[in-house]
Point group: C2
Chain length 458, copies 2
């Protein structure tokens, strides 16, 4: 309906032109490497998980936004240019503008904030669930198109806002039925303060990169590489810092010793620790000083979430605090804190834990067709059942009843209704429970509705 | 978390590099022409409408799928090429593959069907709600990025499947609270049969194009232009055909006279007419023989939906039946019937009718902050309220109470909770109804929950 004539002409000429030469000209259906379709079984589960997360977000007053998939390259990439841009899908549009597909939801959010500053009340809490694209080398579990699910509070540099994000991460996991997980937290400001204390500020990029690899290459390898950058004493201090103690309190005590209890970042972390205790969720948090979130732009608390029993999958929800999100687009300083659920990774984790929600059935009831002359009556009954919140599929043409039952079973539809001319005359229906292979025959429609509801929710 | 180092390096170097020269180097935040952001007020309403439509679809056993936004150009455009492709966003990816952004959801669905034929059970009912992109000249109400919402039944060429789509269109409108609407139906096969009867098959493209313009240029202009293509008798027959009679039955009678009652397409339309009567929704349908759906690929029934009181907006839900969707990608013939809700147009129509759902409030309750030392207690109470399905925002730092009330009012939050150290000690809260400016002071939390629920749903 939004369809303009020109686009239809494409499709039309395309379909028609090939009509005479179908066999010769078939185009092999295929997808680009790193891209995939989502069949109903997968897509239903994805929608189910997204709905649960959205419920968590809105219960905390986070509201949805959306931004375009395509923006000016300059807006998305700044003037950085060079080798690093290679992952981003960039091209010239019809008007010879340099455009790009968004590669994350953070940069568009920064642009959005600067652009709509007058329409937005701070503190502003938004979530954004949308696809992003990156032309990375695709490998197991990593795709060129994937969905991100970001939530941020901007306009408040407080422990309260930090805790709000921590709570959302906690509640997201709980809501999805995940019982055993740990949210690892650290603080980039404290790490930088340590480097300042050790007078290693200039080597910070190399050191961050190295620390970030500790989970991959191990403590010993990090130590070896560190000693080539720093002196022995600094190396020992960094190692002491990044290897966390067993409890939050002990790690906090160590950090106070290595940096300073007066450091504002250490104080913030102390405050967060008390808040976690007071709210009663401290058990789910672990002060993990080895976490730096790599080279990204965080300046405060950082988060990563690990599920017990699937360490190979990595963090399923990560984020942190940044001093100023919009500096590229505005003179105003807007601090923020947020996190992002890695939906595909989360689904993979739930799958490996056997905790994926069951694939929803195609419908609750299949109204079979044994007499095409009463199909109108079948649709009428279907509409009545739907008004009772029962999902109904009507088989569209006559076929052996056994095949229709098989169809229902393959689509995971638990109940079938069988109606012939006689039932139509008497306003009756026969129900078959396909799971138990039991019949409930000759029921008036009102009775049938009651029985269907009982059979669906015993 | 899905974020690779390289992309972070982009953002990092981008944000950091500009840090020293903020004032000079600010990038003006702006969007490409034809694209737009969706602020929370709009996005909440869009999500609300989509959720209602999804409920309609799943109640009829339609299941969701998704496909990539980017595909091989050849797959999306076939080998057509030429002038017509200009609207499609096409580019070379990092691997020098010619790729394009999808411009509708029908072509990807055809490819999907052919590719996953072995995983799919026919008849197959799917819905797909996703963005598409077209580099059209943007003008009022037409954007380069917009959302489509398609639903189709494939694998069944029956009146039952046709009626299923008609029912979904009907129920979509009803569910959105639209009372007055008409779904105009016609049949492309019947129109073609008329052209065959008149021996005008070769001029069909010109005639279709002309008939399609009747609502725009009027009957008289169409007549004039028609007479330059056909003889007087044919011209009269076409005009008689395309100007519908007042009732479905009368138009059907006329069509039988002009074409033939024995024509299978006329018989299908007769069957559909009886089904609409039997199901009891015939009042919402109008046999409008002027509808052709332009040059597109329909071969059977076609649909357009018009809302009373906003004729200027055009059809908000259109579709039809096609003989064979997958011929480009497969030798198998799979017939189908489907329709597409024009979400943006529908929202515009609801807005002009004053029937948009109200903008949801930012939250049910704002827990104000008058003492930062008890923020942990506030978050604790917030979590308890959320577990009661009450959405809660916690104001993150101390500010004048009046400003916090104003903040809540601007965000459409109806209730505020005020807690100080004394209330914390006594496990009490004070509630303020910001709408009525009434206080409910010193309530135990359990009492408070009851009162909040009453105040929210009086």
């Amino acid at each position: 309906m939004m369809d303009s004539c020109i686009v239809y002409t494409i499709i039309y000429s395309f379909l028609i032109s090939l009509k005479g030469s179908i066999v010769k000209d078939i185009i092999q259906p295929k997808l680009l490497k790193g891209f995939r379709d989502s069949l109903p079984s997968t897509e239903s589960i994805r929608k189910h998980i997204i709905a649960k997360l959205e419920k968590v977000f809105t219960l905390s007053g986070f509201l949805p936004i959306d931004t375009p998939a395509i923006e000016y390259s300059e807006i998305l990439l700044g003037k950085s240019g060079g080798e690093t841009e290679k992952q981003v899908y960039k091209f010239m549009d019809q008007g010879e503008r340099e455009v790009a597909l968004r590669f994350d939801l953070t940069v568009p959010f920064a642009r959005f904030l600067a652009q709509h500053r007058n329409e937005i009340l701070l503190p502003f809490k938004r979530y954004h669930i949308a696809k992003v694209w990156r032309g990375e080398k695709p490998h197991s579990g990593r795709y060129r198109e994937f969905m991100q699910c970001d939530f941020d509070v901007v306009g408040s540099d407080t422990a309260s806002a930090d805790i709000e994000i921590a709570l959302l991460m906690y509640r997201s996991m709980k809501t999805l039925g995940i019982q055993e997980f740990k949210i690892h937290v650290s603080h980039r400001g404290i790490f930088n303060a340590l480097l300042d204390v050790l007078d290693l500020h200039d080597q910070s990029v190399d050191i961050l990169r190295l620390v970030d690899k500790i989970k991959k290459i191990g403590e010993k390898a990090v130590k070896e590489e560190l000693s080539s950058i720093t002196d022995k004493k600094s190396c020992a201090a960094i190692l002491e810092f990044i290897v966390p103690a067993p409890t939050f309190a002990e790690t906090l005590a160590k950090v106070k010793k290595l940096v300073s209890a007066e450091n504002p970042h250490v104080q913030r972390m102390t405050e967060i620790s008390s808040l976690l205790e007071e709210i009663g969720i401290a058990n789910f948090f672990y002060f993990d000083t080895s976490i730096t979130r790599g080279l990204d732009y965080y300046t405060g608390i950082v988060f990563e979430t690990f599920l017990s029993g699937c360490s190979e999958i990595g963090s399923v929800c990560s984020g942190g605090r940044y001093d100023n999100l919009v500096s590229v687009y505005s003179k105003e300083e807007i601090p923020g804190v947020g996190a992002s659920v890695g939906l595909d990774r989360l689904i993979a984790a739930l799958e490996s834990l056997g905790q994926l929600p069951p694939v929803p059935s195609g419908a609750d009831v299949l109204i079979t067709c044994i007499d095409e002359s009463i199909i109108g009556h079948s649709h009428k009954i279907a509409e009545i059942l739907r008004s009772e919140n029962i999902s109904v599929e009507v088989f569209p043409s006559k076929k052996k009843l056994a095949s229709q039952f098989t169809f229902a079973e393959k689509k995971n539809i638990p109940l079938a209704i069988i109606i012939g001319e006689q039932e139509k005359q008497q306003d009756a229906v026969n129900i078959r429970d396909l799971r138990k292979r039991e019949n409930h025959d000759h029921l008036m429609l009102n009775e049938a509705i009651v029985i269907i509801k009982e059979l669906l929710n015993p």
